[in-house]
Homo-oligomer: 272 residues x 2
Amino acid sequence: MDDNFKIGIIGGKGKMGEFFTRFFQKKGYEVLISDKNTKLDNRSLLKETKVIILSVPMSVFPQVVEEIANLTTEKHWVLDVCSLKLEPYKVMRSLLKKPEVLATHPLFGPYEPSLKGKTIAYFPIRGKNLLKWFSQVMCEEGLKLVKIPPKKHDQIMGLVQVLNHFWLILLGNLIKQSGFTLEEIVSLATPSFLKQLEILQRLAYQDEKLYGKIQLDNPYGKRFRNLFYKQCQKLIKVLNSDQAQTLFETNFKEVKALAKELENLLKPLSLN
Amino acid sequence: MDDNFKIGIIGGKGKMGEFFTRFFQKKGYEVLISDKNTKLDNRSLLKETKVIILSVPMSVFPQVVEEIANLTTEKHWVLDVCSLKLEPYKVMRSLLKKPEVLATHPLFGPYEPSLKGKTIAYFPIRGKNLLKWFSQVMCEEGLKLVKIPPKKHDQIMGLVQVLNHFWLILLGNLIKQSGFTLEEIVSLATPSFLKQLEILQRLAYQDEKLYGKIQLDNPYGKRFRNLFYKQCQKLIKVLNSDQAQTLFETNFKEVKALAKELENLLKPLSLN
């Protein structure tokens, strides 16, 4: 590997920054980081590295891109890993005129024990070599890359992240209010609810600040929460009506049809 | 095995009835069934069998128990498999004065490819031999038996079944309304949301009539739906407030603490 092919992670002390440091070191790359209170500042980092990974909170993202904009050259490859894509895409496209640039969103947290089959959403901004290299590295580790326009990405995350987390918080609140002990609930969980509890259990490893940002910063989050709330209201009305059983069955059959479609897309169902 | 130790399943043509027929036949038992349009009626079934499994819908349950009440003797062992337990418990306790009687609820559907680790909730009503035999048979197949008072059982099912199914229907409705294709959603699913889709996928194998009954018959279902709705309203208000991030973080930390407690009860977390 080219001696000058070093990787620089801005925000290297954050959780995803640390993850990518370990990730690339394991693959044999030399990784330098900058963050608050690191020896290197961003300017020095850019002098010494070819690939720049922007792993900073959304709140400081535009400011960091502005800071590095005039320090990046044609030789640099810059990619971000923000949970949203439209704003970072716009900022990078308008400010980073020289380097190759790639917008990415790793659809997993820093604590996954295996990366095999995990997904990174991406959208190219400038150049082909960065994408080619990035794809190859991720492919070697069994990761899938999915190309998606930034706005569409953010909309889908309104469902996949915002609404899913919203439900998990509600479920957690409800379990706490139920008056049942966790032992009672776990001991009487159906296979379906057990999987639900396993999803909830994952939150033990997540960061409240990041989850707050994901919940609040997505411009489509509010729409999904409101839509969900209205659906909730509507279904409750249906279930309180005279024709509850019939109407429920009709709705259930629609969802069952969706569940059958899912069979073609997900791995063959192990009902366990 | 005693030649007269035959198993009779009332409602043997239903899905759970068929499941238990296969289950006990595999274990070497002779199984007879009665149902609408079977050769045997309940009276003849009771004459020829020792263990009677009541696998009929809740709506006809009291009527069936009334019918067989005077036909059961001290030699009979009777157990039900209803999704709710308080009403069947009351009916069986008051009408079945001679046989041994056991109330059970298998916490899984008829299509699970493996029964290992699955749970059957139970509460004894009369006699010890039926329970002893039933425990042993189920234990041999790797099933767990969990004793739970009937009312408490029904309350917990208000969360484990009613609310969980309620959420899945809402999720299905929302996916349909999102305007995204399933391909788009699956390709951008996080590990957490992928598990959520796997739970949804299970509905492909479920029966709308039974799910309607489970949703509507549980006397605590309405309470959980309403509680959920109010929590939903409350969390939306929090997320629209000036202090959204701080308040969300506080709530998230509470749920995170719950998630950590779950770690001690569930199998060690594989984050995949």
